[in-house]
């Protein structure tokens, strides 16, 4: 079921990006006047890179087994996934602090880089990140019984799927602005 849902969601997200990429990238939030596109401080750019890179690894390790191989995470893939998970959580938290203002839906960002769709995607990823972290964290303490553990796993999977779709749309619209 989840396998089919993943495939459909990913295909749909890619189709949307291909078909409406430019329109989505062009819609700026808050103001029709596009500010000048600037550069981030190096440290912030580095954190962003780490966050996106770890997210890609998480997607690859998490969804590869579930969609392509048809079984849950196991072996070294799990170790890589868990290790990158910590990096992703930390970098996402730091980035959320650094860029909350830039991705604010209320007005144009400081550097004028992000469309409304990208901003929405960012906040979707942040919210899903919270779901991902809590679903893992709660499973690591003797809090949840087996049914709760299964529920946590489902929350983790669905959060990951939504974050994946958001990532695809975000990536698909990046660099397509006129």
């Amino acid at each position: 079921m989840f396998r089919a849902l993943t495939v459909i969601s990913v295909v749909a997200a890619i189709a949307v990006v291909v078909k409406f990429g430019k329109q989505l990238a062009g819609q700026s939030a808050g103001s029709s006047v596009r500010p000048r596109i600037g550069r981030y401080p190096l440290i912030e750019a580095l954190i962003a890179f780490v966050m996106w890179a770890s997210l890609l690894v998480l997607i690859a390790t998490g969804f590869l087994g579930a969609t392509m191989l048809g079984h849950a995470l196991s072996g070294f893939t799990t170790l890589i996934h868990v290790g990158c998970g910590a990096v992703f959580a930390l970098s996402l938290a730091v980035l959320a602090v650094f860029r909350a203002e830039a991705y604010s839906l209320a007005g144009p960002d400081t550097f004028g880089r992000f469309s409304l769709v990208q901003k929405i995607c960012f906040w979707v990823i942040v919210i899903c990140g919270l779901g991902l972290i809590f679903s893992v964290l709660s499973a690591m303490f003797p809090i949840l019984a087996t049914d709760g553990q299964h529920m946590a796993t489902r929350v983790h999977k669905l959060s990951a799927l939504v974050a994946l779709v958001a990532t695809i749309i975000y990536a698909g619209t990046a660099g397509k602005r006129n």
Partner: protein
């Protein structure tokens, strides 16, 4: 016309048979619903269907098939799990403990099963006939199965006509009387008193005589053996007449649900060397449950074994409710709920904090059953393999077969489960790469004077035990060790130690060692008469020893040799005159000049009292669980090869997970072979309390770099003392990656930090989201406020 008559007769006959069968099936009533046990005040019936008159001296033993079978469907029962092991295409089920054909003399421990379990041998492949199978294993069988075999030309050694059939002993399980004595059953089986065994074990009467001692022409109808009242006494029964009423009926104390003690007679497992007071037992039995609460059965006596996939194997979904999961959690199937959880008041486990992947990959028993895993596997003795629980004058219990637990390995259902493991040991003939086990009888010739070295040495020591004025006992001393003769005519290793210069056969009294002969001066012209008599008596005793080698017994002291002449008079001569000193064997050179030594003289060659190889094997094996040395194995393999006239057959000894053969250089070489692979069966009991489950306290019990669960060593052992043994680690048996589990184990060192980091990250993200949520709320209130102003 004739054809028509024949058809009519045939149809009438068929209808009569079918009516008869219907009547027979009607005889056994369905359960009415009453939960009481009917009072069993019944008369006894013998195997011929005749009512037993207990006062009659020539009474036959009672027959369970005729007595119990009058009301209970014996024919249905005989296909139950305990009895159907030899039926063609019988239910295989999950591997269980096989029968282990153990022969201490030849070092054989061969796993045998009629259910085609992995790494076991079918009785016929192992060389067991129905008769020898029953003779070997019926001590732990409740009768039935092969016990109800008949005389067959394929089995000329069988003596069914004398022994009678070993019928299913219903009372072995269903007798609630404390008089039910399984050890008595074992004794009667050993005496080939098969038809008398149920009567004896239930304590209904006293059994005398032994069918095993009767000539093969004897039958039970002949009654007592009038020719021999001392040895070959015919089996007979004397009933306890006080237990019968005037109608020749007796009251049976029957329990519909067998008591645990009956199950445990054959299903006990004990940690080697553990005290009874230290055994907690199974948590279910401590809670008041009986074995049969879970291991229950219907009239068909197909006992639920309780493993998870049993329902699938038996195509009976109701069986699933008796597994751990079925009882505690319930079982669902495609049609709905097959069994509700919480059966018999069982608590539903919450397994808080345990990732569900554990339930996919592990059986319940992995965490909840067996001994707590440590660096060393626990050596256990089981009732069926090591004969524990048989009480009598003789010591039935054996150290071998060597069985260890808990070996965490992948089971037949693909889940990791704790197993008991043993390694087969047997002599084999290899023809066209096919391995065929040799029976102990087939080794009799090749093993003569090679096997049983402790008994051989004990025989010499016992021969020299002619009484001593100081009440000392002869012992064998070598390399600081003292060996004494035990009641089984073998050797025991004494806890006391000898001095380095003490050697040979000496007298031992209260741990103090002295020479068999009082000290005397060999150079003196006149020998002390007492010493002379003593030496003469000892040499006479050795000369009379049945298993003595060629040659005459002699005693040496310094450069003198003492022996008996033709008139049995002591003769003293010079060592150099009697013995070719160049051929003097090493053991004599070790004996100090002032010490007495004993040996055998033949053609001027002086041999030690026991062959060197006997001494070597005694030193290596006595006091250990080993019974063979590599040297003995080489000797037997060479003897087997010599006896093979074709020269095409290869011989091997399988032991400790390896196959041993003699190479061209005459040395023993070991190779891996499928026939040497261990036989394993899952263990389920004893079940520990939930608080003692693996992982209940912390994950690092298993997930650590050196955890016994993944990295415990599983090292084979067997009757032969050798360094070439199969050694594996648990992860290999589980099909797991060692590097992954080492790394995963290491990850638990930083797990607390990991939790802290992601918890901190979650808090930060939560705060940011909360902040913007508040800002959004602020904007919303402003917006709504501005609308009101407008």
């Amino acid at each position: 016309m004739n054809r028509l008559i024949l058809i009519v007769i045939f149809l009438v006959a068929v209808s009569r048979v079918s009516v008869g069968a219907e009547e027979a099936s009607k005889k056994f009533h369905e359960w009415t619903g009453s939960r009481t046990i009917p009072v069993h005040r019944i008369g006894l019936t013998d195997e011929n269907g005749e009512g037993i008159v207990p006062q009659y001296k020539q009474s036959m033993p009672y027959s369970p098939s005729k007595t119990c079978g009058a009301c209970h469907d014996y024919n249905k029962i005989r296909h139950g799990w305990h009895f159907n092991y030899a039926e063609k295409d019988t239910l295989k089920g999950r591997s269980g403990q096989p029968w282990i054909w153990y022969d201490e003399v030849s070092g054989m421990q061969l796993p045998v099963s009629g259910r085609n379990w992995k790494n076991t041998w079918a009785p016929s492949e192992a060389g067991l006939t129905p008769w020898t199978f029953i003779k070997t294993f019926a001590r732990n069988l409740p009768g039935g199965g092969l016990g109800e075999s008949e005389e067959s030309p394929d089995d000329p050694a069988a003596r069914w006509n004398l022994s009678g059939k070993l019928e299913i002993d219903c009372l072995a399980c269903h007798n609630a009387s404390p008089a039910q004595n399984h050890s008595e059953w074992v004794k009667q089986v050993a005496r080939e008193n098969f038809r008398w065994a149920p009567t004896a074990s239930a304590g209904l009467g006293e059994i005398g005589g032994m069918a095993s001692r009767m000539p093969s022409s004897w039958t039970v109808m002949q009654g007592p053996n009038l020719d021999d009242t001392q040895y070959a006494i015919a089996p007979s029964v004397t009933y306890d007449t006080k237990r019968f009423d005037r109608k020749k009926r007796m009251l049976f104390d029957i329990s519909g649900k067998p008591q645990d003690r009956h199950c445990l007679f054959c299903h006990s497992v004990a940690e080697h060397g553990k005290q009874r007071k230290d055994v907690d037992g199974d948590i279910h039995t401590r809670a008041g449950m009986n074995c049969v609460e879970c291991h229950r059965n219907g009239v068909d006596h197909m006992v639920n074994r309780g493993y998870e996939t049993e329902a699938r194997d038996r195509k009976d979904l109701s069986v699933a409710a008796s597994s751990c999961r079925g009882c505690h959690l319930g079982v669902d199937d495609e049609k709905g709920v097959a069994a509700m959880g919480g059966r018999l008041g069982s608590p539903a486990p919450k397994h808080k904090g345990i990732p569900p992947v554990h339930f996919d990959k592990l059986s319940c028993t992995t965490c909840h059953s067996g001994p707590w895993p440590t660096d060393d596997l626990v050596r256990v003795r089981t009732a069926r393999a090591n004969r524990i629980g048989i009480i009598g004058v003789a010591n039935w219990t054996t150290d071998l077969p060597y069985i260890v637990e808990p070996v965490f390995m992948k089971g037949e259902d693909g889940k990791i489960a704790p197993h008991r493991v043993t390694w087969p040991s047997f002599w084999a003939r290899i023809e066209s790469d096919k391995v065929r086990p040799l029976t102990p009888d087939a080794l009799a010739q090749a093993g003569t004077n090679v096997f049983e070295t402790p008994k051989s040495l004990a025989g010499i020591i016992a021969a020299m035990d002619i009484g001593d004025p100081t009440n000392g006992k002869p012992v064998f001393v070598n390399s600081g060790k003292i060996y004494s003769v035990n009641v089984d005519k073998g050797l025991d290793l004494a806890s006391a130690k000898a001095a380095a210069d003490q050697s040979g056969i000496l007298l031992c009294k209260n741990g103090a060692l002295s020479s068999l002969v009082a000290a005397f001066d060999p150079a003196a012209e006149q020998m002390d008469p007492n010493v002379q008599v003593r030496i003469t008596d000892l040499l006479k005793a050795l000369a009379a020893y049945k298993a003595k080698p060629d040659g005459v017994p002699v005693m040496t002291l310094g450069d003198k040799v003492y022996q008996l002449d033709e008139t049995a008079t002591l003769k003293t001569s010079s060592l150099k005159d009697e013995v070719d000193l160049a051929k003097l064997q090493s053991d004599f050179l070790k004996v100090p000049a002032k010490s007495v030594a004993w040996g055998w003289l033949r053609d001027k060659k002086l041999s030690p009292i026991a062959p060197d190889f006997v001494v070597r094997s005694v030193l290596e094996t006595v006091g250990t669980s080993y019974t063979l040395t590599e040297e003995q194995v080489v000797m037997v393999l060479k003897n087997l090869a010599t006896s093979d006239k074709s020269g095409k057959t290869k011989y091997a000894y399988v032991c400790s997970g390896k196959m041993f053969t003699v190479d061209q250089g005459g040395r023993l070489s070991a190779v891996d072979h499928a026939a040497a692979e261990p036989v394993a069966w899952p263990l389920a009991h004893d079940i520990r309390p939930a608080k003692q489950a693996l992982g209940a306290a912390k994950c690092t019990i298993c997930h650590s770099v050196k955890s016994p669960f993944f990295f415990g060593k599983v090292e084979a052992a067997g009757p032969m003392k050798t360094a070439a043994v199969q050694s594996k680690q648990m992860f290999e048996l589980q099909g797991q990656s060692a590097n992954f589990h080492r790394l995963f184990g290491l990850s638990f060192l930083v797990r607390s930090m990991f939790k802290t980091v992601i918890f901190g990250a979650a808090c930060l993200i939560g705060l940011v989201l909360a902040l913007y949520a508040l800002l959004a709320l602020n904007s919303l209130t402003k917006f709504l406020g501005s609308r009101e102003n407008k």
